[in-house]
């Protein structure tokens, strides 16, 4: 998938466009975000983070359209935009959770490419 600039740009599309700009600046070979890569990132198990939370799905659940649950029992709204249309409207909030959750799950911060892929997957769901 090539870099697509959505015609109807809302806050979510703006955010993705910003990530695309940053990703291109970080790697000139950048050729757009991929929902398929985002899905892999979302479901794959990592070893670098906390043993309690090896994958995004540890808390968010296997199905992005279903609610998840934190380790402390709190219900987490579904991550898919189709069922949680108010998500990803606040860039600061998105960054806050990427920072925390990538550290917990991957044991490192996520690259811009990964964030964009993950968001693209969730926007498509």
């Amino acid at each position: 998938m090539l870099l697509t600039t959505p015609i109807l740009a809302g806050p979510r599309e703006d955010l993705l466009a910003q990530y695309a700009t940053a990703a291109k600046a970080a790697a000139s070979a950048f050729s757009g975000f991929s929902a398929a890569r985002g899905k892999t990132l979302h479901t794959q198990a990592f070893v670098g983070g906390k043993p309690d939370t090896p994958a995004c799905t540890s808390c968010h659940g296997q199905d992005p359209r279903s609610a998840g649950r934190s380790l402390a029992g709190k219900v987490i709204d579904p991550v898919a935009v189709s069922v949680s249309p108010s998500r990803y409207a606040d860039p600061a909030k998105v960054e806050k959770w990427f920072k925390r959750n990538c550290n917990e799950v991957l044991g490192r911060e996520c690259a811009t490419q990964e964030k964009g892929d993950w968001l693209t997957y969730m926007f498509s769901q």
Binding site: K50, L71, A72, G73, K74, K99, R100, N103
Partner: protein, 163 residues
């Protein structure tokens, strides 16, 4: 003239009983802890676990906790400086030894206000109240952690922690 002791005593007993009831109703009994009212605190302190009542810990504990959000019981819960200031302000103003005193007197009894635990679940009164909860119950898939008050206390989010 004979003083009617019996009616008087009964009357006083009734009034005293009503006063105790009224006082408990006002304080909500010993199992009520006013839920967090500030929307920012509710959001920031209530995403991973339920937003715990400020009156469950003294101001000093909240201040120490807010000073190290990067390692919040093993998790990174850091927020930006402005948000941290607002959260700390709310928690300190409504803590067990400040604005939330009337809810906290039993939970915090015998605890040094300047050297209290950071975990509510380490308060001696909390431990006593939960001593009968079996290990398998804590490990139940709907409980899993002692921070999950609402798994058993259905009205915890509204401030009621009755059995």
């Amino acid at each position: 003239m004979t003083i009617p002791y019996r009616p008087l005593v009964l009357g006083f007993a009734a009034i005293a009983f009503s006063l105790v009831l009224l006082q408990r109703a006002q304080a909500g009994g010993s199992h009520f802890f006013a839920p967090v009212a500030d929307p920012v605190v509710r959001e920031e302190c209530g995403s991973c676990h339920m937003p715990f009542a400020a009156s469950m810990l003294p101001a000093d504990s909240w201040q120490r906790m807010m000073g190290n959000l990067k390692d919040h019981f093993g998790d990174d819960a850091s927020v930006d400086a402005e948000t941290a200031r607002r959260i700390t302000g709310y928690l300190v103003a409504n803590a067990a030894d400040t604005g939330g005193r009337r809810y906290s007197d039993k939970l915090l009894r015998g605890v040094a206000m300047n050297n209290a635990p950071l975990r509510i679940t380490e308060l001696p009164k909390w431990v006593r109240e939960h001593r009968k909860v079996a290990d398998w119950e804590w490990k139940h898939k709907d409980v899993r952690t002692r921070a999950n008050c609402a798994a058993c206390h259905r009205d915890a989010e509204r401030g009621y922690y009755d059995e």
